[in-house]
Subunit: 381 residues, 2 copies
């Protein structure tokens, strides 16, 4: 098998043109010959995560999207507003490959023993350019999935599972004992709920719709607060008192939610305070914004004392901070529990050309909870 060179493969590309246009297309590229420590993976499953959509759409207004090209070589163009173009300046003219993570079968390997040992194995990989038929990658970056695991089951081994583990790790490292999560009905939210139940960690789930409350409660969640209810602030405060959570991870970013969480944390902290403190409670209250589902400005009244912080949170710096060995332990836990704690569900599996159909973009582009797509770059090829 390693003597047969893999032929060229399709790869999805995102290009921003200087005139303010996004262009999505498929290109056929030769598959690189693996170096001694590398393997070629035939990618069979790669999720469309919110973090992928940012790179894919480049801030374009997808309501202006137009299809052209052919069925086999579709092209999608969409307009980008001037202020967004200013922010995108560094990537203008660069045709970028997309897709953070995926899984597939090792079809070609370099000469090293580690590479050769992977031939025929189903592996999960992280590293970009996964919306492609083939991905050449270092053997050490391959996470071998337990026997009987499909590529689809292993497609999301990194972004969501490591993010859930990273939230719990950050919570512990910064001295908190329980946490709050928004957009808690998402794939990631359900995963975090299972992880916290398994590890005995207090979790306050914030969702927007009543049916999401039910879903999470049936999945064993002890605290689920719906932000659409008039009792939201009271519900949240009670859950914070019960769990003692003083750190939150917010996927929405915009609007008033981050501030509401800090306010409720302050009320919860003062419920147990013995005397009036002019600068508010001395307990540090932290909200990390790790997503931007709500693109409106972030707004808050500072009615939560002085011991608070709001900041950005990203997985990569967290993994760099804990170091390779600690991160490897997390990855091995993910592989071992990929069908249970870290399982993901998808609405639909599409091919590369289907992923560039306007009606599909309209669905997965919404980033709606329960509308997550999986790309299989080797489907229908």
């Amino acid at each position: 098998m390693t003597n047969t060179r893999t032929g060229p493969g399709l790869q999805l590309r995102s290009l921003i043109k200087p005139e303010g246009l996004l262009e999505l297309s498929l290109v056929s590229i030769p598959t690189p010959e693996p170096g001694p420590d590398e393997v070629v993976v035939r990618v069979e499953a790669s999720p469309l995560n919110p973090s992928d959509l940012g790179l894919l759409f480049g801030g374009a207004d997808m309501s202006t999207a137009v299809a052209s090209g052919t069925a086999d070589a579709p092209v999608v163009t969409a307009k980008i507003d001037a202020p967004v173009m200013a922010a995108m300046a560094p990537r203008v003219g660069e045709s970028l490959a997309v897709g953070n993570e995926g899984a597939g079968v090792v079809v070609e390997a370099g000469s090293s023993a580690a590479s050769q040992a992977l031939v025929g194995k189903t592996v999960a990989i992280l590293g970009g350019a996964m919306y492609a038929q083939y991905r050449c990658i270092k053997a050490v970056q391959c996470l071998v999935l337990p026997a009987g695991t499909t590529a689809a089951e292993g497609a999301s081994c990194f972004v969501n599972p490591l993010t859930a583990l990273g939230m719990v790790g950050t919570m512990r490292a910064e001295g908190h004992t329980a946490l709050v999560h928004t957009a808690a009905a998402s794939n990631l939210g359900q995963m975090l709920n299972r992880l916290c139940i398994e590890d005995g960690i207090g979790l306050v789930n914030i969702v927007r719709k009543p049916e999401q409350v039910e879903m999470l409660k049936q999945a064993g969640a002890a605290y689920v607060c719906s932000s659409s209810l008039p009792t939201f602030m009271d519900d949240l405060t009670q859950a914070l008192v019960a769990t003692g959570a003083t750190i939150a991870f917010d996927a929405t970013g915009g609007g008033r939610l981050a501030g509401q969480i800090l306010t409720a944390m302050e009320i919860a902290a003062n419920r147990t305070a013995k005397e009036y403190s002019r600068y508010g409670s001395t307990v540090h209250k932290q909200v990390y914004i790790y997503g931007g589902l709500d693109r409106s400005p972030t707004e808050f009244n500072r009615n939560f004392g002085m011991a608070w912080g709001i900041g950005g949170w990203l997985l990569t710096p967290f993994l760099q901070k804990i170091g390779f060995e600690a991160a490897q332990k997390l990855r091995e836990r993910v592989a071992a529990e990929i069908k249970t704690t870290f399982a993901s569900t998808y609405t639909k599996e599409v091919s590369l050309s289907e992923a560039l159909q306007l009606d599909e973009i309209a669905v997965y582009g919404k980033q709606a909870t329960g509308e997550k797509y999986l790309i299989n770059p080797n489907k229908d090829v």
Copy 2:
């Protein structure tokens, strides 16, 4: 002198009544007899800092203030809105003494050698209840002022000087090399400007009015940006590129300024970046809010990548973090440079009863730059 007991003295009190009324008044209280390690200070100068006004006014709407009582025993009442009352619940019914810091002469001392050594000395003290004729305090809390220093000159030895030193200390501890300061024309801002010049630290001063730009430039400031100019964002970005400042201390809190600073820091960081980073610059950008001159909500667009933080900053936790010895070194530096680096200026010196006159409250209550008052509790008594 230590055998003569000091008589009763006037003390200013702030009381919130359950019906939603603030009441300011003067009470006559016996001066405590100092314990062995304590002294009694005749307070001759105590500033009205923004941090004092919060406790003094208790969030009351001072435009509703009404005067009653007599010239010697004035009483001021003002209404407090219901939402503010909710936040003030812990202090309702507690008659609170006010005034963080001050200076005066030691008129009575306990038996210990340390206490006795202070008799007749002019000292600066921190610890609350300074809007009073006499303040009993531990000898170890007294900062002896250099010979020839008046109480008025030494009245502000702690809050502003230690805050300026705390900002520089926080900047260093968190790995930054230059800083940004808003409301930079304030007493504190002028002090920080002198400190940064003396210590060779890059400082970007943000002010609101053109005449404040001139004042700071004449005081030697290299970078002064006026937020009222249309070129503000460009001016700020250039100053950030020149200084490399990635941390800011913001006295205003509300509005868009904190976000504008982060945005400008991101643009400055990307000017030197080599390639497109999808999550923005990896340099951590931090804004600490330490005041609330602008009471409107804080609002920002998250167009500054993911490596950012906004949080509250207070002097006391900073001093606790560095420990007593390090803090003592800072205090000794303040005393040594109280007439130069750490000098303060005041618009007016008022007595305790003058401080409760409505026309005076209208002036110092504005917290306007250049309208700072000093209370002399032993004036006209």
